[in-house]
Symmetry: C2
Subunit: 232 residues, 2 copies
Amino acid sequence: MSQQRTGSPGNTPGTPDFPDIPEATVARLPEYLRALHSLAEAGHDTASSESLAVAAGVNSAKLRKDLSHLGSNGTRGVGYNVERLIGQIEHVLGLTTLRAVALVGVGNLGHALAGYSGFTTRGFHIAALFDADPTRVGERINNLVVRHIDELAAVVDTCRIAIGVIATPAHAAQGVADVLVNSGVTSILNFAPCVLSVPDGVDVRKVDLAVELQILSFHEHRKAALTGTVTL
Amino acid sequence: MSQQRTGSPGNTPGTPDFPDIPEATVARLPEYLRALHSLAEAGHDTASSESLAVAAGVNSAKLRKDLSHLGSNGTRGVGYNVERLIGQIEHVLGLTTLRAVALVGVGNLGHALAGYSGFTTRGFHIAALFDADPTRVGERINNLVVRHIDELAAVVDTCRIAIGVIATPAHAAQGVADVLVNSGVTSILNFAPCVLSVPDGVDVRKVDLAVELQILSFHEHRKAALTGTVTL
DNA sequence: TAATGTGAACCAGTTCACAGCG
DNA sequence: CGCTGTGAACTGGTTCACATTA
């Protein structure tokens, strides 16, 4: 699971029409979706909970319980209809409309994200790039011109952008977040290694590449200690 | 937390000398470390659980319980000694030795990762770059020459590399993982959008950029549904 | 019959609230 | 007195195992 969540501080309300889905389940739905697409490509038009679970890297009981939150979609004795389930999950995740994303910070990482085809192929459209550095403004990346961050509010407004990605250095991130929020962005994906504070109702997810390695480091350390055996 | 974990399938054993620490706590220690470094830079040499918790974006009770797993380090009535706690956490995470990392795949994302200063400044050293594409072999990135993936086993062995980063397209990732594992790598950070299968004892963490956006998309979708109010 | 869907048991993780200590 | 450290209560999530159904 990634990490920081702000907004909707209490529980998801849940309406009859829009049942509330546990956060842990939500975090796995995209993985199921990916697995389903790969099964579809392989020619399967139906899949059992077991085969889907394997493709998604979870156990089948968990998968069935997760899917049960979207209403019952399977057929007993048969499994799930792949195309139907893809539609189901895309609907729940709100992927039926292409979502516009603003990317702030076109340094090393931001540059790569701007060119990352995975966003484009999975429901998102990078609509605008921003940077604070005037020497970078005007640069063309992947058919998009880098704009100065002062233009952000206007662009977010006209392009109806609801999601912002922060790929700036840590010291600039909070300022960028403030601008994004004031411009009407309500979801932020933060790659800067720092905590963002945002008002209620704004969701933040954080990805910290170094943290991932540090977690692996812990396990390496532990494995080494156990292999060397008997104290150290 | 990020996601896939393989290896140590049961529970962490835990020795008197190396107490077992809950996985959720391990995942937060790097964040505490970062917060501590920023407090240290700001000149604090002591910090209360409350102030540290704010800097790390968690609540103070959780932070205290997390730290209690490393043994008691605070002083009642005062707080924690910042430098001492930094040392404590670095020790537990195994960050006292610089860890060598092999990066496979120098496409869009891999290129950015190779140049990412956050790895270097936080305990890791990218020791070698690999790619399968012969036209990329020989390219120089950040003072490192891209090698052909066939050389991987030899380099991993001589440089004693225990951690591998996969930044290849999904279809190549499992093959790369196999090579890494056979070469002696025991921890993998996977940026490819696919499930890897690895033997017990090998840890895998997965970062999927598009998944993060899809999770945000869900919340956007929900917020929109609730704002539009009364069914849809 | 072969699979789903789900109550019930279980487990990990979080929060509370306060005793204990410097 | 103010803070940490921690048992106890609670919450959310996972797994089990089976009744149910196409």
